[in-house]
């Protein structure tokens, strides 16, 4: 990435982070589409010997051998038995039966997490700069589990099995599937075993936003990552024949540019198909689009394919208009023809012009890369949202990180659009998704692991969460693209990651495997279900009362039910959450500050001060939330902050009614 190190403050903080020797012992495992080992991001210059703890391998296969690994890319495996048994044998003329990445996604995610520094990186000149992963000195091990037809659970589980045995320190999974209960979800099950071995597992939250309850990877032992924007944009303005100009974004860079006004047509009016407005394959009438700019609506087929369809029909350019599903969020693409993407509001204004003017014309002006865009970050519209559909009392996502228009390493097998007809080859590509935000956090977790080798996965996640921010430097609340309003903990979790602050969090909310097993007891899991996850018999102590609210999580999701309030007989009900904080800083006196969610909800913390005299000392506190009955659509938010004057240990509070 060329902008996120600056955006996250990593450029200013070299002195705070560990020397390369310590970081060189940290290994990031990435489960994805494999790796393009020739990427400059895997240059191993200056790397010392491979850590003695490493037990992994560099497996051979189609166009891949052990010689493709080095001191940076120390492991590469592939898992296809499950895929092949369902989908049939892999066609090796179409994809490599080896760790080689024919897709680009895996190279992008792995280089984002831990790519080496590459000077002079860009995509056709866009986003130019020095590209690097978050943990430049960490080692990379790739586990190819995704193929043309998808990623299968038996392969994912096999990769997790090997990664644990290989001794990775951080696992990054930019994939997900559905909303299965924890004991049915192979990622959750494998992640539990990894967590038990001290491996932090970071997963993408999903791209099903802004709908509520759209998250995947919500197990509490997983770090779930949503996506936000950077302060960078790629403007491409649309100028209409009536003199009006509209903003859009584009990564188009070609010999052809639109220097004059061209006829402009709505795809829906240049097609005999009922969904002609979507520019699906073969739906445009060439005679009606030839030499024109065509407006296509977003939806159904890939965005870049719409450009290809317009080009194939003889169109000179394309305007891609978001619909209600995507609102005004602008995601840039490296289209094959001059094209710009505009938001829903702009798209509607343009369509009015197209229907009102008998001879509409337009041109597109490409402006390259702009930085310093404000406000930033904002929560991406596509980023999946809470509440957590499996356990509503665990707030997810945990955190957001950059995931919109991210530049990182790419495969040499396909062009930046991934389309078969795209013959361009690039070393770096710009793409968007929670797939991109997840490896940011994986790499940052690797940095923290290098700085604090003795911290558990829960402690590392806690440091990232309690130091995350939810306000801009000017004091304004973090915004959500989907609404244009302040985002909530169901959108951003604890907030946007701040790695420099996370290095020195003051206090952490730690968790051990047994704490999670007690959490499963609180969910009334059967011993068989718990055994499936724990890999050993575990009996819930019948003398104990287990509560989900006692899981020592760094955030608070408080759920009031009608029944609970009715049972109380007083018109309101109280819920207690118990937490234990571990001092990872110097001795200090911490005082609590409750940023009240609403005057509807009373929040009391007991005790209100915590005195620490030594490092690793633990103190507990109880939070009581008291609220009356409210409609089930009501959500209110707040924060609980502990501070010693130097550190602020901040937890989001999300209160809902069912």
């Amino acid at each position: 990435t060329t902008r996120t190190p600056l955006f996250l403050g990593l450029d200013r903080s070299a002195d705070f982070f560990p020397e390369s020797n310590a970081m060189g012992d940290v290994i990031v495992g990435v489960l994805d589409t494999g790796v393009w080992p020739e990427s400059k991001s895997f240059d191993d210059s200056g790397f010392g010997p491979i850590p003695a703890s490493w037990k992994g391998e560099c497996e051979s296969g189609t166009n891949f051998s052990s010689k493709n690994c080095n001191r940076k890319l120390i492991g590469a495996r592939y898992f296809a038995k499950g895929y092949e048994s369902t989908m049939g044998l892999i066609d090796e003329t179409k994809e490599s039966k080896s760790p080689r990445d024919d897709d680009g996604h895996g190279t992008h995610t792995s280089t984002t997490a831990a790519g080496s520094v590459v000077q002079g990186a860009s995509l056709f000149g866009f986003a130019s700069g020095s590209a690097r992963g978050m943990a430049t000195h960490a080692r990379v091990a790739v586990y190819k589990v995704c193929w043309i037809g998808g990623c299968f659970s038996s392969d994912i589980l096999a990769a997790l099995d090997k990664a644990i045995d290989d001794n990775v320190n951080v696992l990054s999974l930019s994939l997900g599937g559905g909303n299965s209960d924890y004991y049915r979800d192979s990622v959750a099950i494998g992640a539990f075993a990894a967590m038990e071995k001290g491996i932090l597992v970071s997963c993408s939250a999903g791209n099903s936003g802004p709908s509520p309850y759209s998250l995947s990877n919500v197990a509490p032992w997983i770090t779930t990552v949503g996506a936000g924007t950077l302060d960078r944009d790629f403007p491409a303005y649309l100028s209409l024949g009536n003199g009006k100009n509209f903003s859009g974004v584009s990564l188009y860079k070609g010999a052809m540019s639109l220097s004059k006004m061209l006829p402009f047509v709505y795809a829906g009016n240049a097609s005999n198909s009922t969904n002609g407005n979507l520019c699906m394959m073969g739906t445009l009438i060439p005679e009606q689009v030839k030499g024109k700019i065509v407006l296509c609506d977003r939806g159904l087929n890939p965005r870049v394919q719409k450009g290809s369809v317009v080009k194939a029909a003889g169109g000179a350019g394309m305007v891609l208009a978001n619909t209600a599903a995507n609102g005004d969020e602008l995601v840039a693409d490296a289209h094959l023809l001059p094209a710009t993407t505009v938001g829903q509001t702009t798209g509607e204004a343009i369509k009015k012009y197209l229907t009102s003017d008998p001879n509409p014309t337009a041109t597109i002006l490409f402006e390259g890369t702009k930085v310093g865009i404000k406000p930033s970050p904002v929560v991406a519209s596509f980023s999946s949202r809470g509440p957590n559909s499996i356990t509503q009392e665990i707030l997810k996502p945990d955190i957001i990180a950059p995931g919109v228009n991210i530049i990182a390493g790419w495969t040499g097998a396909v062009g930046p659009t991934g389309l078969a007809e795209d013959n361009r080859r690039v070393g770096f590509n710009i793409i968007s998704g929670t797939s991109m935000s997840c490896p940011h956090v994986s790499g940052l977790a690797a940095l923290l692991k290098g700085a604090h080798p003795d911290w558990s996965p829960a402690a590392i996640r806690s440091a990232l969460m309690t130091t995350a921010y939810t306000v801009y430097k000017n004091g304004g609340a973090l915004q959500d693209v989907a609404t244009g309003k302040p985002s909530t903990p169901f959108d951003h979790g604890a907030g946007h990651v701040d790695p420099v602050a996370a290095l020195n969090p003051g206090l952490v909310y730690d968790l051990k495997a047994e704490d999670y097993l007690n959490f499963l007891c609180a969910l009334n899991y059967t011993s068989t279900q718990i055994n499936s996850i724990a890999r050993r018999p575990f009996s819930c102590d019948t003398s104990k009362k287990f509560s989900v609210t006692d899981l020592n999580y760094p955030s608070f999701a408080v759920v009031f039910s009608e029944q609970m309030i009715a049972d109380s007989g007083s018109g309101s009900s109280s819920i207690k959450h118990i937490r234990t904080v571990t001092n990872v800083g110097p001795a200090g006196l911490y005082k609590v500050n409750v940023i009240s969610p609403s005057n509807l909800v009373k929040v009391t913390v007991e005790p209100e001060t915590l005195a620490f005299t030594r490092t690793n000392e633990q103190k507990s506190y109880t939070v009581t939330f008291t609220a009356p009955s409210m409609p089930s659509t009501k959500n209110v938010n707040g924060r609980i902050e502990w501070s010693d004057g130097k550190h602020v240990v901040s937890s989001p509070v999300a209160i809902s009614w069912t």
């Binding site: 994805d32 589409t33 038995k81 499950g82 048994s85 369902t86 996604h105 995704c146 998808g150 990623c151 299968f152 659970s153 038996s154 994912i156 589980l157 096999a158 997790l160 099995d161 090997k162 644990i164 045995d165 930019s174 994939l175 997900g176 599937g177 559905g178 299965s180 004991y183 049915r184 979800d185 192979s186 990622v187 099950i189 494998g190 075993a193 990894a194 071995k197 993408s204 939250a205 999903g206 791209n207 995947s216 998704g433 929670t434 797939s435 997840c438 068989t528 279900q529 055994n531 499936s532 890999r535 050993r536 018999p537």
Partner: protein, 82 residues
């Protein structure tokens, strides 16, 4: 494999392995052979879970579920990149 078969992940309670087995993989293999002479293990899992993946018919999967030491028989699930 036949079209009737699909992939299942069989979770085993390793602590319930009969004393007659020296090695858990032999026990896993024996459990599979008891429902299908021809089925082969796709993977044996040792760290992420205890168990294995195999192609089975629905009937075979139901049969294996009833064996002692079997925690669960989970059908293959498809995941997608984000």
């Amino acid at each position: 494999s036949t079209s009737e078969e699909s992939t299942f992940i069989i979770h085993m309670a390793k602590s319930q392995m009969p004393d007659s087995f020296d090695d858990h993989t032999h026990w896993y293999s024996s459990s599979l052979k008891s429902v299908s002479e021809s089925a082969e293990m796709l993977y044996v899992y040792n760290n992420a879970v205890h168990g294995y993946a195999a192609r089975l018919t629905k009937k075979e999967a139901e049969s294996i579920q009833k064996q002692r030491g079997i925690l669960s028989v989970m059908p293959e699930m498809k995941y997608e990149l984000h």
